[in-house]
Amino acid sequence: MNLISGIPVPYYLSLAGIMFTIGMFGVLLRRNAVVIFMSVELMLNAVNLVFITFSKSTAQVGGEVIVFFVMAIAAAEAAIGLAIVIAIHRQKKTVHVDEMNLLKW
């Protein structure tokens, strides 16, 4: 079996799957925008973990490169996302997503 630092690959993948699922349910079930935001970050990092795992196990550097891109974009997205959350808070005095129901015509 393929090992990375002495740990088998499926362990890494299972961890990533658990992290992704936690993040996904966080996005779906939580109502606080900041927490949803954190959950999104968790999902991104779960994906990053998958990339790194396969990069190591197949000895190809491409996965690591993509991870850098994802991190850079996540940083940018965090900046914009937080700015939006702050703007909404100023407008509505709340960050509760159920209060944000204007996305329809």
């Binding site: 996005v27 779906l28 997503v97 944000m100 129901n101 204007l102 996305l103 329809k104």
Partner: protein, 647 residues
């Protein structure tokens, strides 16, 4: 001079363009100068070209191309022009009489609203008409044909704020469309069988056309339907009398001298087709003869001075078609020219009267105008003598030639001649009725009008005098040999145009050999035609000069006079048999088919989907969390799909 020829076509367009762009700001004087020069210069170039072309010896048309127009496969149409005897002749008439009428319009339209606009239309008309006569192919002729139709519509409806003028314009336009369908079908058929729409190819293809002898008749008829519409023959003549709603110079230029003769010109231009017909030309002759008499009888009871002239135009065009039908192309073209002179002259004369009388057109309110308008009176008199066929005025020579050719035509010739003679008698009668009612007899003029009654300004009288000279002397181009000398300048002039077709028709043995008529018969024919004209004038003199009869009020016409005054009720018949049914069908189509079936199905489809959407819309809650859930569900679906597809 021939290399300047493109200018003849381009200058009127340029004039229309400049005046058309700036007519709101342009001073009237400048617009008038531009309009006049844009026609007068081409006239002098045409004159020069006529001599440079040596029409009496030259038998080859001068062809030149301005630019390529349509090239699709084997179908090639260019803005290309053909200068030969026939097109030069027409161009001379159009630009010559056209410039006189432009000059006249300066005086006539003086102070009218839309003075500049008027010259835009006139120049555009000249441009279209020149394309019609000079083009070297049928498509370019059709372009001109439609162009003159458009200008005619614009100019009839020049006073568009008046309902009568706007409606008359529409009537002319729609009636002409019916004829144009025939013309278009003729072009299609020509291309189908010849593979080209150029006249040169048409003539060259003629020798090989013997197997298609029957079809040629139908092609000719299709073209003739076009001519019927444009040249106001039975049954499509009804638009021309109404077209008199336009300003009088328009009536003179478009509805007397040039545009309405386009049908006659077309037959002459397409002589390869019409010479080769076996039976179609007889229909043309019959239509012409019947129209000549029919329109003349309507003219007997009209009271509007311009309406009389309009019906006489229809009638004279009938004579031209009679000539074309019996194969006397030179005679037809001859009458076209003399008619252009005397009819333009009389229309301009009537315009001078109307101008002086402050837009009074009813002859019942005129009389004794000879004391007030000497020049108008004398020139009008010359025109009337010419149309009545009194020697030595021009109309005598051309009409006599037509009647002689009709008489010597095989088969129905003498009948055609009889109808023509009856028409000539009627013509002389109603034209002199017009003269006596207008210029002689008691004064029935409104007192307010009388105070201002005066001869018209020089812009009006100069064209009158020049046209009168033409109307008086143009006939000497073709004098019958029994009257000494035997001048046949026109016959020699046109010979190269018709020669080739005639030769082919001869070789097929379908030329209708005219009866040879002896000199004594010719004398008798001539004396009869002058005699009936004299009789018509004498009767007219008796009734309107000696007995001083004046047409009654509108509602007091009795018996036959009432039928004639109401133009045989043709408009009413057309209205009830064609126009009303068409309107009713259109209404039914609009209400039932369009609104119920078409709109119903289109709107129904829309309503179905908007109904469906009202269910889907419930998914769109606006809550961000719901949307996130949809994204996740969508992603799961995609993942599962990829798994199964991959497996």
């Amino acid at each position: 001079m021939l290399e300047l020829f493109p200018l003849i076509i381009l200058l009127p367009l340029l004039g229309a363009f400049i005046n058309g762009l700036f007519y709101r700001k342009m001073p009237n004087l400048v617009a008038a100068w531009i309009g006049n020069l844009a026609v007068a210069i081409p006239f002098f170039i045409t004159l020069g070209s006529l001599f440079a072309y040596h029409p009496m010896e030259n038998t080859v048309p001068h062809l030149f191309t301005l630019f390529e127009w349509i090239h699709v496969g084997n179908f090639q149409v260019d803005f290309a022009y053909q200068v030969d005897q026939l097109s030069l002749y027409m161009t001379l008439i159009i630009t010559g009489i056209g410039s006189l009428i432009h000059l006249y319009s300066v005086g006539y339209m003086h102070g009218e609203e839309g003075f500049n606009r008027f010259f835009v239309y006139l120049n555009l008309f000249i441009f279209s008409m020149l394309n019609l006569v000079l083009g070297d192919n049928l498509v370019l002729m059709f372009l001109g044909w439609e162009g003159v139709g458009l200008c005619s519509y614009l100019l009839i409806g020049f006073d568009y704020h008046k309902d009568s003028a706007a409606n008359a314009g529409m009537k002319a336009f729609i009636t002409n469309r019916i004829g144009d369908v025939g013309f278009a079908v003729g072009i299609f058929l020509t291309y189908w069988y010849v593979g080209s729409v150029r006249y040169v190819d048409l003539i060259n293809a003629l020798p090989y056309a013997l197997p298609y002898k029957e079809i040629i008749n139908w092609v000719a008829l299709a073209f003739f339907i076009g001519a019927i519409g444009k040249s106001a023959q039975i049954p499509l003549y009804v638009w021309l009398p109404d077209a008199m709603a336009g300003p009088t110079p328009v009536s003179a230029l478009i509805h007397a001298a040039t545009m309405v003769t386009a049908g006659v010109f077309m037959i002459a231009r397409l002589n390869p087709i019409f010479y080769a017909t076996t039976w179609a030309s007889d229909y043309i002759a019959i239509t012409g003869a019947v129209t000549a008499l029919f329109a003349a009888t309507i003219g007997l009871q009209q009271t509007d001075i311009k309406k009389v002239l309009a019906y006489s135009t229809v009638s004279q065009l009938g004579y031209m078609f009679l000539a074309m039908g019996v194969g006397a192309y030179t005679a037809g073209m001859f009458h076209l020219m003399t008619h252009a002179f005397f009819k333009a002259l009389m229309f301009l004369g009537s315009g001078s009267v109307i101008h002086a009388m402050h837009h009074e057109q009813d002859m019942r309110n005129m009389g004794n105008l000879k004391n007030y308008m000497k020049i108008t009176w004398i020139t009008f008199m010359i025109g009337t003598l010419a149309i009545a066929g009194i020697p030595p005025f021009s109309g005598f020579f051309s009409k006599d030639l037509i009647l002689e050719k009709a008489y010597s035509h095989h088969g129905i010739g003498p009948i055609l001649w009889g109808i023509g003679i009856a028409g000539a008698f009627t013509t002389a009668f109603y034209m002199f009725r017009l003269v006596f009612l207008t210029f002689y007899g008691e004064e029935r003029i409104d007192v307010h009008v009388k105070k201002h009654l005066h001869e018209s300004p020089w812009q009006i009288t100069v064209p009158l005098v020049l046209l009168a000279v033409g109307a008086a002397f143009a006939g000497f181009l073709q004098v019958p040999h029994i009257l000494g000398g035997g001048v046949h300048i026109l016959e020699d002039f046109f010979k190269p145009v018709f020669e080739q077709s005639l030769k082919v028709a001869d070789s097929w043995g379908i030329t209708k050999e005219p009866h040879v008529i002896s000199e004594s018969t010719e004398w008798i024919l001539l004396l009869i035609s002058v005699g009936v004209a004299g009789l018509g004038i004498f009767l007219s003199y008796n009734i309107f000069q000696v007995k001083k009869t004046v047409p009654p009020k509108d509602e007091e016409f009795q018996g036959m006079a009432k039928v004639l005054y109401n133009k045989y009720y043709v408009d009413e018949i057309y209205d009830s048999t064609i126009i009303q049914p068409v309107m009713q069908i259109s209404d039914a189509l609009a209400e039932d088919v369009d609104q119920k079936i078409i709109d119903g199905s289109v709107l129904g489809i829309g309503r179905f989907f908007s109904g469906l959407s009202s269910y889907l819309r419930k998914l769109q809650t606006g809550i961000v969390g719901d949307y996130a859930l949809y994204i996740v569900l969508g992603a799961i679906v995609v993942v599962f799909f990829l798994f199964y597809k991959g497996a």
